[in-house]
Amino acid sequence: MARVTGFGAASLDAFADGSLARAVAGTEPGQALDAESELYRRFAPRVRLYGLKHLRDRAAADDLAQQVMLIVIERLRAGEVRDPDQIASFVLSTSRMVAVGLRRTEARRERLRGQFDCGEPEVSIDESSLDLARITPCLTALRERERTILLLSFYAEKSAGEIGKALGMTAVAVRVSRHRALASMRTCLETRRPA
């Protein structure tokens, strides 16, 4: 079995997820800190992305990542993860389970907001971690129909079928245009990446 405790974080890159999980399994808190940190570094961002998709809220996605990784590490320490080599699958199933609970909590919050009419929060958070100064010229440089398709897909959250109907295109053509537009955006953003 690979021993990963006591190594610097940089060297942990080479270890498989399962090796890290086995290093944590059955340990007391503090005994496998490096391996636990590395597991957190690898999986917390994936759980957060899962949360963004299913909870549709950045704060809730952050909460999900924290809660899931806490549960995963505790279950590993307690020796309750049957197959550490399947740790990715365990993290995903834990994410699904915790997200259901968070959705219920959010539904309760929504009902309370409706009851007490709390209004919008005072502090607004910049939702994008991507520099708008970079993305604006790249979106502007797209062909008109591609720009419209991206706005309708990712902002107005319309389906390819709905977009096609509005623009006189087939759903397949919308998807093809969307992929082409995204490829152009990536290339453009890459050329504008700060040195």
């Binding site: 939702e127 708008l132 107005a156």
Partner: protein
């Protein structure tokens, strides 16, 4: 190490994950792969950044595009301040942008029968071209095109100037002289106003 796995996903597939088009079984397939694969997890994060960046741009009224009512409804839900004008072909209107406007929407009405795409040109009376866009899709039966502009861009137009928007069918070869003019709309721009 989980950097690359068999069956890695394309950026397009991962971007689709963030749309409403992706069916539940595809969502599960993508998630199962991404949790096993660091490379695809990074690409999924990149696609999400792009999605949220586009959303932030739209919410901030920082885009110029021909849009649909679906997008305008989303702007309204997000509390974006939109000022709207509607013009028939050949019509002249007096317009202005207020300091707290975020998006200016212009409904350009016309007869688009038999036209699948148009080119649009915005030109000041001085002859200076202020904007041009090509290949704007037109759905069959459309009676208007909806142009959205950042209000900040409109506020930058000199006061008391005249702006002309010309729509041409884009079916012909490139170049304004070869295309048919569908409609011309004239805006007498009063300038930017401050609220009292």
């Amino acid at each position: 190490m989980t950097d690359i796995r068999p069956g890695c996903l394309t950026f397009g597939e991962l971007a689709d994950y963030w749309t409403v088009d992706v069916p539940p079984q595809e969502v599960e397939r993508i998630e199962a792969h991404v949790f096993e694969c660091a490379r695809c997890a990074r690409l999924l994060a990149e696609a999400e950044q792009l999605r949220s960046g586009i959303g932030a741009m739209a919410k901030g009224g920082r885009f110029q595009a021909f849009v649909t009512d679906g997008l305008l409804n989303q702007l309204a839900r997000d509390g974006v301040r939109v000022r709207s004008y509607a013009l028939d072909p050949g019509e002249t209107i007096t317009c202005s942008a207020w300091a707290d406007d975020e998006v200016i929407v212009t409904r350009l009405r016309g007869d688009f029968t038999g036209v699948s795409a148009i080119d649009a040109e915005m030109r000041l009376e001085t002859g200076e071209e202020w904007g041009r866009t090509t290949d704007v899709p037109v759905r069959e039966g459309a009676t208007e095109l909806v142009l959205a502009l950042p209000a900040s861009m409109v506020r930058s137009v000199p006061a008391a100037s005249t702006m002309r928007i010309t729509l041409r069918a884009a079916s012909g070869p490139p170049g304004p002289q070869q295309s048919d003019i569908i409609a011309v709309y004239v805006f007498n721009h009063e300038g930017a106003h401050e609220r009292p």
